[in-house]
Amino acid sequence: MSRCGWLVLLVAAAACTENATAPGVCPTFCPSGSISIQDTIFAAIIGRDSSFSGYLQGYQSTLMTAADSPGVVDSRPFFTSQTMITRIAPKAGDTTTVPLVVDSIRLRLIVARRDKQATNLRLKLFPLPVTVDSTWDFASLDPYFTAPPVDSVSISRLLATAGTTDTAITRFWRTVCSACIDSVRVDSAGNVLLMQADSSVIVYVKLDTLEAPLSAPDSGRVAFGFRVAADSFASVSLVTEQTSAGSGPQLNWYYHYTIPPKGTGADTIPRDTSTSRLISTRFDSFVFNPPSAAIDSNLTVGGVPSARSLLRVALPAFLHDSIDLVRATLILVPVSPVRGVPSDSFAIEGRNVTTDLGAKSPLGTTFNSTFVHIGSADTVRIELTNLVRAWTLDTTQVTSLFLRQLPEAASYTQARFYSSRAPAFRPSLHVTYVKRFGFGAP
């Protein structure tokens, strides 16, 4: 009996599992209530919308765009380097210095974005005054960019080049960029291209002392501007120093100097010593023509200085407490297609604000984005489900959001959408929600 009792208990314990759900045979064997879904476009709940400009300048951006589309846009990035020593103390503690003799220079550029369909894609280098800064504009820099370039590197040709089979070269460049993938490509001019895992490429442009002279009056600083050329899709984005320290254009100066003899014993013969020094960017930015248009009654997003649009949403009360929101989409109608090089499509982000202070509203942490394509007049839709859902669940949240370009001030591209001042095309919110289920009734 005792064993039997334990057996019964074991069987009972093993049987204590539930499976009460079966495929529904409706409506005969289903609850009378059903999950009801509604899909509504709220055409008039977005109002008091405005655009503001001046958030980020070109030199504050993480990218700088080089583009050349005749009659559309001409965008030219440039940079000036930090100072470079022109003399060196051959021995530590010596007050005597000797001059440096530059052998060659390598300019490193990280091309974050390029059009893979671009053919004959080239970057041309133009020397600029080392004094270039944020006060220089397209017009003031134009004479330097219209002069003959000091050098040119063909990215397309480098990409088409077979990877080097020289293990010494490969080993050297692998130490320079251990995370790079694919082969090390070197052209006949000594320019090198390395591929990164995110498809961005690192280009090392080899310069000689004529192309990049070490000038003592300029404290060793140099400045270069870039123009891009291609058979089509002439547009690239270069990484700037604002992305992270050392990620902007970088110069590696290879030089040697002579250690003078002391004149006693075996140390009576001068000796040459070779070394190199990395010099990072002091200032980088880009200029373009035509400049970004002034803000008008429409909603403006992007451009330089960057523009954002603030949209205020008057959420209907019933969305707060009696529904479960499953999808929310912001609908924006462009005033006109965005002009530019086709490959310069960009992202627009809708992000909440923690408090509504107009142009200075601090950005929140809930966001989503979508892409705006150059030349397309299609309606732009941004999925804002998480954001609007948070609004429906928490009535204390500010129901406003900013539209901004990603990354900001990185390109000449600027989108314009109709605002609430244009009733037929005003921004709207497309909401799909599930009505509260009628529990309790049989």
Binding site: E18, A20, A22, V25, F29, V434, R436, G440, A441
Partner: protein, 381 residues
Amino acid sequence: MKTAVWRLGGWAVRVGVIAAVLLAAEPPNRLTAQDSQFGIKGLGTPGRWESVRARSTGGAFAPFDAFSPLTDASLADASRMSASIAGGTSWRTIEPTGAAQASLRATRFPALVIAGPLTRRIVMGGGFATYLDRTFGVMIQDTINLRGVQEPITDEITSDGAVSDLRLAAAARLHRRIALGFGFHMLTGSSRVIATRTFADSTNYRTSTARDEVAYSGTGGSASLLLDVTRDVRLAGWLRSDSRLRADIGGRQVAENNLPLTYGAGLQWRAGTQAAFAGTVMWRNWRAASPADSNSHDTFNWSVGAELGSLGTPMRFGVRGGQLPFGVGKTPSEVGYSAGLGRQFSGGRGRLDIGLERLERKGTGLTERVWTFLVGLTVRP
């Protein structure tokens, strides 16, 4: 051998008392009876007010069994303080017409009765049973048009709970051959309900989940009579009426439904010391309780059963039949066959009952087959 018996008795008594105290204090949501798809469309699936002993006889012995909550008068036979609990595990197969078969499983504790004499003639008792089972889950797959796109969806609507029947009853033996019982019933309980919709396009559409807890309340009264026609023949009759069943969500009433009048009669014949036979009939006017609901039906149920063998180790058999109160179209029917064993231990201080029941329910568009394994424990501390 003597020691072994003593140990088992002690264990059984302790477990039984603890279980009785805990379960009587707060009926759990698992306190539900036999689920059925036929109950989804209505108020639920009516519970069985039967102990394992009575259920093993198809329910035929329920009116005469002190540990079946069906009648109050039967408490008069409880000469000592006693408690009994019943539990069961069901394996259910549903076969909808034109749809795929599905297998379900559930474990329930359908009834608990505690009774003891107050005076020489009056016995008080109480406990709980399932009035209506509200546990089910349905999964519905469909395709809807959303934003001009055909979007596959899956809905899952589940309810987990029951309307429980808390009973306080008294039975009095008015005469050597007559016992009368009255009971006050408090209908209580809740069901946790969840409705979930998931979208095949989970990138753009979030899963929607609505949860709530529906609380039920109501009251009822019952009266019953046992009449010993001869020394071997006993008649039983009972009547029960309940108030309206109120369903609340968050303190707000969302539904109120009438409950049926229940009445029935039973006959038991003791053919000697080793055999007893019984039969019952019972009516419930569910349709009158909800005249506007075309899916509710009046029910008539019957059962016939036998208990054979000694009092310490009886064997039980039974057949039941009848109708279910909810279903589209014609009234769903059910037929059940059951068998079981009982075993007394600790000198009659405890009894373990096991039973096996096979049910077949048929209605418009659905056939349901159920195997239920039952375990009951009765202790007299």
